[in-house]
């Protein structure tokens, strides 16, 4: 699991469940994706210098579907994940925000082989813990259960990915459930602020809207049946999808199941053209008036896209630890000593396109909002100008490694971690590359990313208080 510090607003980014981290790419895989004429397999042996201590096999079907298998000591149990690299990012047309998430719901509405009632019965008979969730950059379908029923899981998943078929009425019906989900989430003022923050920080990129989408679009969803068919045709294709199976399995069995059930899936050709976000030129402000929760401030700086070949994101991850870990001077000052804040935390969101480095603080007294903001900025400046001692840097690297090592203690968490990196690069090996990069991060790297990304012209300040405005400069 990613060890980035928890951030209230980032928690709101994922719709349905929770999700996280993982691994690094190999050139063989990239090549075979390009060629895509025949199946190919690559086995990555478990080696001591890789953060993932288990052997991982990748097998690519001729249609481009990548299959990742990690045998793990979990007798009788396996996790089966299907990662589709489509999310709110791909919602480029007007009026259809929230559609990737809505479509995730539609995937439970039956096929020609399994009517919706039969599908539900079959799902129950799998005895699995099954669900799905959507974020800005991907949709993940997951089943964890009895490995003896893995064939059924493959059959059910492949069937709906290839042969989904629902009526217009079922489509309209499911739209109501999405509205119900929005209603549930909207009870949290932090969710409301998150929605406002994205809408303010971005002008044209699709990260402007949350994964749930704009409420007006959600209300209009029942009228978008034709678009839903187009959506399925575009994105539910093998080249967008990676299967991840972790647990009491062998690569041979998994690859055979994949060939059997997904072999006839036809490749598509759609590529989303996401509008590039223009350079932000001045600090932006957004405020939520709500006196029923503690006053809150969120500083959101434009950050980089995830790139496992660049040092920026690993350096920013280290920076977030320097700033917000419970050992950090800032945390100690604001939370422990002066008790101006209940909590302070933050980090860069891993995303395919440039997104936000978000910092959140919950305040004891709203009168301290400007002070807390200034202290956070001062802490960033201190690191930028003075750097940090090597012992602290080493301590962070140790924390990141041990934190991850302790988190991968079951098939589900391993599959979830791999899914996160497949989302980002398409390649589960990214996890090993990222943790190798953490080892190479220098003080100069941290100072460089601090100077590059923490500028006022890239900042959006979001606040919650009982007042009409945030009153922050």
């Amino acid at each position: 699991m990613n060890t980035k510090p928890g951030i209230l607003l980032l928690l709101a980014a994922l719709v349905s469940c929770s999700d996280d981290v993982d691994t690094a790419a190999s050139s063989e895989i990239s090549t075979s994706v390009e060629a895509a004429a025949q199946s190919s397999s690559v086995e990555t042996a478990a080696v001591v210098d890789k953060i993932l201590p288990y052997p991982m096999t990748q097998h690519q079907l001729a249609n481009g579907l990548n299959v990742v298998t990690v045998p793990f000591d979990s007798p009788g149990t396996a996790a089966f994940y299907a990662v589709v690299r489509v999310g709110a990012r791909d919602e480029v047309e007007d009026g259809v925000t929230g559609f990737a998430h809505f479509f995730e719901h539609m995937m439970f509405r039956g096929t020609d082989t399994y009517s919706k009632e039969q599908y539900q019965d079959a799902l129950k008979s799998s005895g699995a813990s099954a669900n799905a969730n959507t974020s800005a950059d991907r949709t993940v379908y997951h089943m964890t259960g009895n490995v003896e029923r893995l064939d059924l899981m493959f059959e059910l998943e492949a069937d709906r990915f290839m042969n989904l078929n629902y009526s217009e009425h079922d489509f309209r019906t499911e739209a109501g459930a999405v509205k119900g989900e929005y209603t549930k989430n909207y009870a949290s003022p932090y969710q409301q602020l998150y929605e406002m923050t994205k809408n303010t920080a971005f002008d044209v990129h699709t990260y402007k809207h949350t994964t749930m989408g704009f409420f007006d679009d959600i209300v209009d969803m029942p009228n978008q049946y034709d678009y839903s068919l187009e959506f399925f045709d575009r994105f539910y294709r093998p080249e967008y999808t990676t299967l991840v199976v972790v647990g009491d399995v062998t690569p041979e069995r998994v690859n055979q199941l994949a060939e059997t059930y997904y072999g006839s899936w036809e490749r598509g050709d759609y590529i989303t053209e996401v509008p590039a976000e223009p350079m932000q030129t001045a600090t932006r402000f957004v405020h939520l008036q709500n006196g029923n929760i503690p006053s809150h401030i969120s500083l959101n700086y434009k950050g980089p896209a995830f790139d496992d070949r660049a040092i920026d994101m690993p350096a920013l991850d280290v920076l977030s630890q320097l700033l917000f870990a419970r050992t950090s001077p800032l945390y100690r000052k604001l939370v422990l000593e002066e008790r101006k804040a209940r909590s302070v935390g933050g980090g860069a969101g891993d995303s395919r396109d440039p997104s936000l480095f978000s910092i959140d603080a919950s305040l004891i007294d709203k009168a301290d909002m400007q002070y807390v903001k200034d202290e956070i900025v001062a802490a960033i400046e201190t690191i930028k100008n003075e750097g940090v001692d090597q012992a602290t840097l080493n301590s962070i690297k140790s924390n990141l490694k041990y934190g991850f090592a302790m988190s991968i203690d079951n098939p589900d968490s391993i599959a979830r971690s791999l899914s996160h990196y497949i989302m980002l690069t398409g390649d589960p090996e990214t996890i090993n590359r990222l943790y190798a990069q953490y080892d190479t991060v220098t003080v100069a790297d941290v100072q460089a990313v601090t100077a590059r990304y923490f500028v006022d012209s890239g900042l959006t300040i979001a606040t919650i208080s009982e007042d009409e405005s945030g009153g922050i400069q």
């Binding site: 000591d73 129950k124 008979s125 419970r326 924390n399």
Partner: protein, 528 residues
Amino acid sequence: MLRSSSRNTKLRSRFLPGLILLCFACSLVSVSQAQEIVELKLPNSNKVSIKLMFKNGSISDPEGLEGITQATASIVVQGGTQELSYSAIQDRVYPMAARYGVSSDKEVTTFSFEVHQDHVDEFYPILKGLILTPRFAEEDFNRVMVNQQNFVDQTIRASSDEDYSKKALEDLLFRDTNYQHMKQGSSASVNNINLDEVRTHYQEMFTKTNLIVGIAGNYSDGFLEQLKQDLQQLPDTSPSVPEPGAARMPNGIEVEIVAKQGAFGSVIFTGFPLQLTRADDEFAALMVANSYLGEHRKSYSRLYQKIREARSMNYGDYSYIEWYEGGGRNMLPPSGVPRSSNYFSMWVRPVQIASQLRQQYPELADLEVGHAHFALRMSVKELDVLVEQGLSEEDFEATRDFLLSYTKLYAQTPSSRLGYLMDSRFYGREDYLAELDQLLKDLTLEQVNAAIKKHWQVDNMFVTIITDVSEAQALADSLENNLSSPMSYSNVMFEGLSDEIKQEDALVADYPLNVRKVTIVDSADTFK
């Protein structure tokens, strides 16, 4: 106490020291020096998990100091030791990425520690210091209490209407008992707690006589011996933990509507007392019935199918035969919340309110009450059908088969496996999940349907509804007068409805609820 005397006897006998040494798969139970030890050796694991479960939760809070058990436990883990301040501990723990924390519930408080095998020896003195010689520093106390005060003053009312509805229901079900109050306490009681009381509470209530020690992972025998020996330094007094309060059965259906400014929907939680826990073999039978009716987060259950899948009313609808911690975020039931006072409940996630529907659909411009009344009727009616007709052989077999596989997923990590084993001890069992497997295999349809008849009914229950102030009075009038509550669809939904759905809707709209009392409470007046 509503529990039957026979079960009381059973529970107590299972808590007696001197349990027979039993070995299941990888778990070992032993009793040493009045301590109960639960072991789960996992030689291939890279870490060690330790849980210290004190059979002492919020029911032990003295009157006027509700929330003190939660506060005490929080200050232990968010504070220092006699030797090290909180900050000094963080400096040592951070490079190890060791994790520790506490969860407190009605009847137990569990401290959990997890550390990589590379750091066990280095970390252990911190664990030992926190439990045996907690610092209870003024600054740590102040910091923790400010947050706990904020939770009872603001967070519970403002962050999740769903959690709010559950706490509000327990407030009704357990009125005037030690089970009534939130573990965090109330606005007044948290304000009453001082540091001396916290110190005393820890000294008196967290003793070696009410402790179950759990350890899992890759540890040595010598390490465990050291742990056992050190824990002998805890006080050996027997805390006066009171008998758990029992849920009360209302006379008819009693509804409490909590009116809140700016609520976007209506969330419903309803329940009545249940004379059954995991300690009883019959629990497995009711588990099958409950899974069929409303398995948590499962789309194939009846409530979900009727309310969400067919009618698009909300995000999900579930039922429970025991407390489910963190229902909004957990897909599988977490360990660490065993309870001996139990209740059945149904959870209807937020449905639309009239003001929202009026804005969204011109055809609903005259609507006065949103979907809450219909959703409540639909839920109770589904329960009614089950009570009257029971499960079919086919549904019984499918649901039992599902549970035989699904319950094995409850404990996938070393920590959750250990947690389930420790909860087993609370219920007087050795290994609940293993025993459940056999109980499910041995079940018959007749036993399931008999359990339904014995434990479920639809005439008496408490209902809490969190809704917007604009909805409260009209909803209250509708419920109190048993007014017809036809389902209000948008035109695009209505035109595609099958005759079967329309006919069922007509029945639900006038399904009689035995409503005897409806009250409206201002959100500001709850948990004071």
